[in-house]
Amino acid sequence: MMDDILPAELPLFAVWVIKAVVIFGSLISAAGITTLAERKVSAWIQYRIGPNRVGPFGLLQPLADGVKFIFKEELVPDGANRLMFRLAPMITAAPAMMCIAVIPFAGEVVIGNYNLGNLSITDLSVSVLYVGALTGLGIYGIILGGWSSNSKFSLMGAMRASAQMVSYELTLLLAILSVVLLAGSLDLRAIAESQASSAEGGIGVWNMFLQPVAFVLFIIAMFAETNRHPFDFAECEPELVGGFHTEYSSMKFALFFLGEYCAIIVMCCLVTTFFLGGYDVPFWDSAPWFIQLASFVAKAACFIFLFLWVRWTLPRFRYDQLMGLGWKVMLPLALVNVTVTGAVVSFGWSPLITPVLAVAALIPGVILFARSNPGEASLTGHALSEEGSAS
């Protein structure tokens, strides 16, 4: 009966619409669930119960929060640049959401007689650059939000956030670059598939093991890039009230929040794709698409949990420590790692020796660094702060 009503093959446009709606809808719901998870995990870490009033186990809390935000009064501060003030939350949220379009969630999706193609909204040949460009654009929302509020705290939060994001974007992109070198492609799907054991000429090892240095650097940089604890200087409460969103209220504030959580989810998807083989299921090459999707979601969820775990466990850095770490430690490490990876690829050695070489190349550097900066000054940028107070 059904076969008579439904067409034999879905038109391409319909497939696009279905994929876009489903993936975008999932992203927004996942962001909502992450806000709940944040409160539940923080409660668990602090021996509290957490939200448990709305719905079973407090599962409907994100909905209640959303409704509350809608009914709150919307304030635009005196002397604010109204156009920019309204535009800023949108500019923050949109790039983070747009990144989800190129993330490969699974291989070919076949439902009944319908083949919907690969499970991602689109497969660009330069999707790594697309992601890089969009994360770069996300900075504008924060700068504009801080600047247009006409408040000192907001402006300082915005300056800090943008300086931090620009600095750590370098490390982030260099860490990605070494993975790109190994895979030989700028396509996220090709990078994910190059780590599967079925890949042509591949050795079936996740990049996490081939590129341990890049993996660690990427994780640290992604915390800084999303302005999350322990690098959340943009909204450092004891110093800056609320940072760039001090003056925001109601749904505009919610939009900033949504953007932040979407950015976290996108980053977790990216780290899964780059370093954990994407939708690869270990030891099962011909897994059906829903198993692949489940594998991807499980890996990404682990990283989302890592974000929450770190936030409620570690203390916040100091701002000069953050900049010192970014420029003096992480950027040189990332450069060394890219050089080593490039050498391995261009000499045609087995990628399996990359971690050994990378760590071997880092040891003299670390020793030199420790000698030149004895004691705690090594990471804290102590010299920097002394100079600052002297002048």
Binding site: A133, L134, I143, W147, S391
Partner: protein, 184 residues
């Protein structure tokens, strides 16, 4: 559809570019330059240059314009307004600027109208397959355009070092002044 998008994007690119010059607030000026760059990137995307579009966004919109924004925010904006209120006259600055841009415009129109620059068949068409491939671009940069590539890299490095030297010298003299004060 493509034509409509092209005209929409190029018109907005031009409108933003005009905005850069016309708008008084430096902040808005930077933002309209950003809008112009984004519109340009969209046009590249429309012709099928995915790499160029991504690079345009990554380099210009993502890095350079953020720097511009920083500089503008650190500037004392009231000083800038003072410049607008009482413009500094530099030997008929305005007249020279108008004459130069008018000459450039007339020259361009003359070139196109005179037929020196022919609209070749490839204009408006999508370039050959694989023209935008990363491998192809990379090979070109490191073979045929090796010297310009290295030269521009060297130029950037030299600029960076020059800026550091200039900034450092000023800071040294400032700290000298400070260190003398307690001695007195």
């Amino acid at each position: 559809m493509e034509q409509f998008l092209f005209f929409l994007l190029s018109l907005s690119a031009i409108a933003f570019a005009v905005g850069v010059v016309v708008v008084k607030s430096p902040m808005k000026s930077v933002l309209s330059l950003l809008g112009s760059f984004v519109a340009l990137a969209m046009i590249y995307l429309l012709i099928g240059f995915q790499f160029l579009a991504a690079a345009q966004l990554l380099v210009y919109a993502g890095a350079i314009m953020v720097l511009f924004l920083f500089v503008v925010m650190l500037l004392n904006l009231s000083d800038v307004n003072a410049v607008f209120d009482a413009p500094i006259r530099v030997l008929g600055q305005k007249r020279i600027a108008i004459a130069a841009s008018a000459a450039a415009l007339i020259g361009m129109i003359a070139l196109f109208a005179g037929g020196s620059v022919q609209a070749s068949e490839s204009v408006g068409a999508i370039p050959a397959e694989g023209y935008d491939q990363i491998e192809y671009l990379g090979a070109l940069i490191f073979s045929r355009y090796m010297i310009p590539f290295q030269a521009s890299a060297l130029l950037l490095l030299a600029t960076m070092i020059g800026v550091l030297v200039l900034a450092k010298r000023r800071r040294d003299s400032a700290s000298d002044v400070n260190s003398e004060e307690p001695a007195q």
